[in-house]
Amino acid sequence: MPPASPLLERGHFLARPYNEALFLNHGYHFFAPDPGSSTLISYEIPREGDAPIVGRFPDVRIKPRLLYHRYFMLAENLWAFDDETRKTIETAYARHFANKHRETKISLNRVSHIPSSILRMQAGGRLDDAEMFESEPIGSFDFSTEAFSKSSVAGNF
């Protein structure tokens, strides 16, 4: 985790094959350096003559809790990758949810849920107040030229 001295970076480079092969290449940065906002992915699927389908993950209704956490990490960890990788994965997310609802067009948004401050809570605020959510568009996707996947879309989403 930057910043690091060239000595440490060299040591990391030398130990990298061993660490990666044995799945030991972790920094254990739990809620570090600062606990930040949680990240969610929302999607909107337009339908002709009908209300759009909206959804968001992670969804607290997902059970068991471990599966909910897996979806939570899909949203949280996405921004840890480089742009090119992230775009590929965003496209995969979009295709998955479009297939799930058997639609071809979908738009994704990144939603940041900012934790309320102590003062705000003391003043009567709530954690899920609308003003605590910030949405940022990821992009719109059109899969009409692609064949639908025949796989099951069962599950929590």
């Binding site: 799945f23 254990y28 960890n77 995969a92 809570m121 599950g155 989403f157």
Partner: protein
């Protein structure tokens, strides 16, 4: 110019110092990493980790297509490009969608086998490969739980994780019992190594986690913990009331930082370890309860078991198991057999007039008696490292409450005060009966019990600690005096053969009397003789022939004591077997023996070394110590005591006998040499 001092060159002393320091460091390193350790906790960690792995795979199966298929949330092409060039392993990278479910079911089966401890050596390695394969295939969905699961599976694949709490262990015990072999779980160096790896890995986790937090200003201001509490996506329990008690989240933040940063130092301090581990457990339980990450919280807490003392938990487990009525099932391996292995697993097959209240699996007895934790000989950093911090387990008189005839004796002995062992031992002497008369009543069982007819009215109670004494009454006597003593191991009534009914056999029984032993010993050590005279003993209990040496055997456990005594007597040794080192010192100070054998089962390292030192100071008898594998640290001390040799258990009776013969021969030679040198030409 040469530097010289009165004691030799300074350089030589310097080199000696460096060599000594290097030797100490190497010994400490070896002891830290490879001193054999009971794999009990490793087995428990395997059980719990296997459960977590199985649960993890079951949850993946709820949405397997979404996470692992090529058209799911993490396409294979994207993940492959992500890992491009990285030396990772994941069989999912080469698994097509059509094999998704067959592979997943196979992994579930292996995880279940790992959890249950079936073919542990194989399934532990496979479980590690499964863990990293799943994690590497879906890296975006990983979090701390996968990281901890990964390293635990890695280390468990290096250890005898199936030695305890496993189907493998059950099968092994059944097979060994069937072949009359020891069912002991032997300490293992790899168990120690893996335990250390887990301990150090936990230290590394907390250290890096703490350092990473120190980079964030919110952990310095204390605001970080509130941010975690107020994160609704993590929250499973509403803690927002802390906004009205703001000092509380600030305090938790500061304590968390301090605890993580100093964990690596304080967890190795015996007095701090319980507190550090307790705080860790509370933190991880809190993570599970308030942030919904039960899997992460629990698996971290499970890893803490690596810091536990397996000997302590073994003794507690044995005590728990012994509460159920268990019949003695193991026959004493033939003391005549030279290949009989003395560990702590032989059990006497002496028929009892009443069922023994406890199973005398000697391993359990050994651990029960050794509930007193090993006090360090010196302030070794590795002796007091466990949670159990030097307490003396109180002798539990309640264990003998249900013992036949115990109630009156209990009243007698518990009133007015609980008697110390020495006082109990003195009772026998005050009763007017000599020690060896009392001992004779014990030693009568040198003939197979099946050949004797037992009188139900005459019983002798034996206790593993304190006096082994009970007045044998005639059948006509109305009074039967049966004592139950405070004991580290329970008393077992042994039926004494009826003299009249067994009159044909009794003359063949018998014992070397004190006088005979003294004569044999004196003859053995007579300085005027070049060769030790071999006294012929027609005393029963020995094969007709010569008594080669007299030996005092000290063993707390009845089965071990009986096994060694029978074997030695069957090989022309005059043998006295005593249950405690105090009794042995008393006997040794009064009578001459050629050698003393002390079984370390039931004795702490300090007691063993102290006994050897006492013998060396008092009489100089050569001592052979039967040392447990977990007491190898005592070797350094024993090697400095004159006349002491040791055998590390498990060892055969033949090896013990050969060691005794060797020790006796050396002692004779040194005595002769001393006499020769002192005798004028």
């Amino acid at each position: 110019m040469r530097l010289r001092s009165a004691n030799g060159s300074v350089l030589n002393r310097g080199f000696s110092y460096i060599a000594g320091a290097a030797s100490s460091v190497l010994n400490a390193w070896h002891g830290f990493w490879f001193q054999p350790l009971d794999p009990l906790m490793i087995g428990l960690i395997r059980l719990l980790t296997g459960w977590m792995l199985l649960y993890n795979l079951l949850v993946w199966g709820l949405d397997l297509d979404a996470f692992f298929s090529d058209h799911g949330l993490q396409p294979l092409s994207s993940i492959k490009s992500l890992h491009d060039g990285d030396p990772i392993f994941s069989f999912w990278l080469w698994t097509g969608d059509q094999w998704l479910w067959p592979m997943h079911c196979a992994c579930l089966t292996i995880a279940a086998m790992f959890f249950l401890g079936i073919a542990s050596r194989v399934t532990s390695v496979l479980s590690f490969l499964i863990t990293i394969s799943y994690s590497q295939r879906v890296p975006i969905a990983n979090f701390g739980f996968d990281q901890v699961l990964g390293f635990l599976c890695l280390y468990l694949s290096l250890a005898p994780s199936g030695a305890c709490f496993s189907i493998d262990a059950i099968i092994r015990r059944w097979w060994r019992r069937r072949h009359g072999r020891s069912v002991d779980v032997l300490p293992s160096s790899s168990a120690r190594m893996v335990s250390r790896l887990i301990q150090l890995h936990l230290c590394a986790i907390y250290l890096w986690a703490g350092f990473a937090k120190l980079k964030g200003p919110s952990w310095w201001t204390g605001e970080a913990m509130w941010r975690v509490i107020a994160n609704q996506e993590y929250q499973t329990m509403d803690l927002t009331w802390m906004a009205h008690v703001p000092w509380l989240p600030y305090l938790i933040a500061h304590v968390t930082i301090a605890w993580e940063v100093f964990f690596i130092v304080l967890v190795w301090q015996p007095r701090w370890r319980p507190l550090m581990l307790l705080m860790g457990v509370l933190m991880h339980v809190g993570i599970g309860a308030f942030l919904g990450m039960w899997t992460f919280g629990l698996i971290m807490a499970f890893a803490y078991l690596a810091f536990s003392d397996p000997d302590l938990w073994r003794s507690r487990l044995n005590r728990l198991v012994r509460r159920a009525p268990v019949e003695s099932t193991m026959a004493l391996a033939a003391a005549d057999s030279a290949s009989n292995i003395v560990t702590a697993s032989a059990e006497t097959s002496i028929p009892r007039t009443s069922p023994a209240p406890f199973s005398l699996s000697v391993a359990s007895t050994c651990e029960e008696a050794a509930d007193v934790s090993d006090l360090p000989i010196e302030e070794s950093p590795y002796e007091n490292e466990f949670l159990d911090l030097n307490f003396d387990s109180p002798l539990e008189t309640s264990e003998i409450a249900g013992f036949p005839g115990a109630e009156p004796a209990l009243v007698a002995f518990n009133s007015p005060e609980v008697l110390p062992e020495s006082a109990v031992a003195n009772i026998g002497f005050e009763s007017g009966e000599s020690w060896f008369e009392g001992e004779e009543s014990l030693l009568v069982n040198d003939v197979d019990d099946a050949e004797l007819q037992f009188s139900r009215e005459t019983t002798v109670s034996t206790a593993a600690v304190g006096i082994v004494e009970s007045t044998v009454q005639d059948d006509d006597s109305a009074e039967m005096f049966e004592q139950a003593f405070q004991m580290a191991t329970p008393a077992v009534p042994i039926a004494e053969p009826d003299v009249e009914a067994n009159s044909e056999l009794i003359p063949e029984l018998g014992l070397p009397s004190c006088t005979d032993m003294e004569m044999a010993s004196k003859a053995r050590t007579a300085p005027e003789t070049e060769a030790a005279p071999e006294t012929t003993s027609t005393e029963p209990g020995h094969k007709a022939g010569k008594v080669t040496a007299s030996v005092c055997v000290v063993a707390a456990d009845t089965a071990d004591r009986t096994a060694i005594r029978r074997y030695l007597r069957g090989h022309e040794f005059s043998c006295v077997a005593l249950p405690s080192i105090d009794d042995a010192l008393t006997s040794i100070s009064r009578h001459r023996f050629d050698a003393v054998v002390v079984h370390s089962c039931g004795l702490s390292t300090r007691e063993v070394v102290g006994f050897c030192e006492d013998v060396a100071d008092l009489t100089g008898h050569p001592v052979v110590v039967l040392l447990r594998a977990s007491q190898l640290v005592a070797i350094d001390h024993l090697s400095q005591i004159r006349g002491v040799s040791w055998i590390v258990l498990p060892a055969s009776l033949k090896e013990i006998r050969q060691q005794i013969e060797s020790v006796v021969a050396m002692s004779c030679r040194s005595s002769l040499q001393t006499v020769t040198e002192s005798k004028p030409c």
